[in-house]
Symmetry: C2
Subunit: 457 residues, 2 copies
């Protein structure tokens, strides 16, 4: 329960029009793309750094849990108000503060959409490389909170590589300034990257200085079709072992291809059991050179055909629609984003096939293969308790396999609440305790997105 | 004074041959390239992670300050054993643990030289981008401690962009594991980059997983000569405002050019008052395209001539020799590495000229202009107290100018002990206190490189 006194203080900070307390209204802020539901007791919309600071001080005073939120597109439960309390939506802090093409910088508030950053940068010949599938409707605040990736990370890196500095309010309500305005800077500890990927557990980002990258002159596409998953996995390793880096290298297994075929008649040949969708970018000559090197690396005994694609738009639309399509056939799919070193991909994909058979759980695997980042989707019926038990056991083995292959549990989605049960498999207890102590420095009353990112209990 | 008991414990950990206590021997570990002298009371050489952990536990028990050290090439005093105690040299932890070209990774101990990493990567078609001038004799541990840059950072970024994971022993003696083995990973807080650039104040790095980059096919050179510093600064901004990024963009002012002329007769024309040394890399076609774009951007009213250079080796040798040459003419030069946004370089260079005149302090300015990173060298005679006073006042104004231009005090050297007096100008007290609390989490007894990085007192 939130007291009248607390709510009166909140109202004084943000104004009546920026505070929701009706449970019906609050329900719209109860979920994210993990599809779990945790209604907050109130929702506040901040429109300034000063308001965020005042809200955090107030929540500290009354010990009210506060969960920051962009547009709720995360898949790991990071923005769920699990302990009730206050949801703080940053969607109304949507100002691009400045565009400075001469220094390749955009300074923006956290509620700006990823796509709005791209639209602002493009006329100046730049883009901001992080490009999750949700780019048209996710916020940069959320991108920063999870260190979001996307298909182009194989060439351009993830969010943490494209931010120069931040302003933020810590859990205890202090305004801090991290990083700088230049592409080089080593004064003090790197708080910028400590906050990036911290899933809103340390501080609420109020302003980000984003580093822009020149738009490639043009892009080209290549598709490669394989008889089986093993030959496809070998080709991925071969492509990444040679120096010409693709700008995207996406893998699709048979289940994913079948799903695309079911909605796009004639788009894909029937005998393709695994496929690569490859993008190269640069000048025409670079595209030609890189494309040639990649076509050579694609060749092995399992290759059916590989070819350059003049207009790859239809394929990308199909690829980007995969996640929502999977929702249609399995609304409660268990969606993971594990990563292994690319040379271990053949072992991972073989192992996933075996685990699917062992536990009789259908799965569909696709993803950003150039980084070794595979989206493993266990397609389950939540009303079948036996299947759910098998899926849980299967998932546990998937994670053990990933770690045995020297991989990591999450490449871009984060831990949130969904992977808390497994994070202890990857991070040892000493390192975990150190992270908890860092959390305590930023948020001594543990009111900021409490319970997220760390193992339960 | 170190007690016999403490020294006996140290001897038991590292063995007699890895411990120096004779003041004459210890003196060799008393300095770095800041040219200050602080002799440690003992020097230990660790050869394993376990030894480092045992040493840190022992130093905690006896409250002995411990200063980690690579090869002492740092310029900011970061490795000076300022409070006596123990110097911990990592030069004997010089093993490359594994080379994994398929996954573009080298795992190495901290005492491996930067050049040894390059030599190990090259046969596989890769390099590790950080390339400080001291590359042949500096360690990667030191590179990590300072987040070292170098001329190629303009295209490839600095050390923090090229490390996937770390093992380290914290100040309180706990082994932690940060990051992962893959190019994507978002599990837990980013301790990797928190340690990079922390100047050995949080933990001692015992193992680093370095991310390799494909070697460019070839490189090309361009030189551009200017009548005055203002037109040269304008050209830098023009080059960086267009999308074709050079792999190096080095600026030299008249004083730097005169110094090179004095040792390399005929290398440079007499009327050049400012100069750019530019490198481009890639395929022949890319070099041609990027080179053409840069030659166009170089053009303005102050350009004397710009030209492609077939063999740029002689120029690079001259450029890399500049810092040592400056030592010859001014052994106690005050050497800074400030950074401003590239569009503000004209104002910075104009301001430096004015401050040099105002305080009657000769200076030489050169550096990594593509990042806005200028090495400001105040050439002073330490035996002239009046000149030293004027230099101090001048330096203070230099830093104020840099911050007024939205810059940062250090792009690659760090704070160490040399810039402690100024760090409070850039980092506000709230953020500074948070950094101190983080330091306390890692090193509660403040024995690990105590006093460095933070303002005094």
């Amino acid at each position: 329960m939130l007291t009248a006194e607390f709510l009166a203080k909140l109202t004084a900070i943000v104004g009546e029009t920026n505070l929701l307390t009706d449970p019906v209204d609050c329900y719209a802020y109860a979920y994210d793309n993990s599809r779990k539901i945790f209604p907050p007791l109130a929702v506040a919309f901040a429109i300034s750094q000063e308001q965020i600071q005042a809200i955090l001080l107030c929540c500290n005073e009354y010990r009210i849990p506060i969960t920051p939120r962009g547009r709720g597109t995360g898949t790991a439960g990071g923005s769920l108000p699990e302990q009730g309390g206050l949801a703080l939506s940053l969607e109304r802090m949507s100002r691009i503060i400045s565009i400075d093409p001469a220094n390749r910088i955009i300074i923006a508030e956290p509620g700006v959409l990823n796509q709005e950053i791209q639209d602002a940068a493009r006329p100046h010949g730049f883009f901001w490389p992080p490009d999750p599938s949700s780019a048209p409707f996710c916020t940069i605040g959320g991108n920063l909170a999870t260190s979001a990736g996307g298909p182009h990370a194989v060439k351009y890196g993830t969010t943490r590589d494209h931010v120069l500095g931040l302003k933020a309010i810590t859990g205890k309500g202090e305004l801090i300034k991290a990083g700088c305005n230049t592409t080089k800077g080593v004064v003090g500890y790197d708080l910028t990257r400590l906050l990036i990927g911290s899933e809103g557990t340390l501080a609420i980002i109020t302003e980000a200085t984003l580093k822009l990258t020149p738009l490639p002159q043009s892009t080209g596409g290549i598709t490669a079709h394989y008889k089986n998953i093993q030959s496809c996995a070998k080709a991925i390793a071969a492509i990444m072992a040679q120096p010409k880096i693709p700008s995207a290298l996406e893998f699709l297994d048979k289940a994913s291809l079948d799903l695309i075929r079911s909605r796009n008649t004639g788009l894909l040949p029937d005998d393709t059991h695994a496929m690569l969708m490859i993008e190269v970018d640069g000048s025409d000559v670079e595209i030609n050179e890189t494309g040639q090197a990649i076509l050579t690396a694609c060749k092995n005994e399992g290759l059916i055909k590989s070819e350059r694609v003049i207009d790859s738009k239809a394929l990308w639309v199909a690829r980007k629609a995969l996640s929502p399509l999977l929702r249609d056939i399995a609304p409660k799919k268990i969606n993971e984003d594990v990563v292994v070193p690319v040379s271990r991909l053949p072992e991972l994909l073989q192992g996933l096939t075996e685990l699917s058979q062992k536990y009789r759980i259908a799965n569909a695997n696709f993803g950003h293969a150039g980084n070794g980042n595979i989206h493993v989707n266990l397609l389950v019926n939540p009303d079948n308790p036996d299947e759910m038990n098998r899926a849980e056991a299967c998932l546990s083995e998937v994670f053990n396999l990933v770690l045995a292959l020297n991989g990591t549990l999450s490449g871009e989605h984060g831990i949130g609440s969904e992977k808390r049960a497994y994070v202890g498999l990857e991070i040892d207890s000493v390192t975990m305790n150190l992270m908890k102590e860092i959390k305590h420095v930023f948020d001594p009353n543990n009111i900021l997105n409490p319970g997220k990112l760390f193992p339960k209990g």
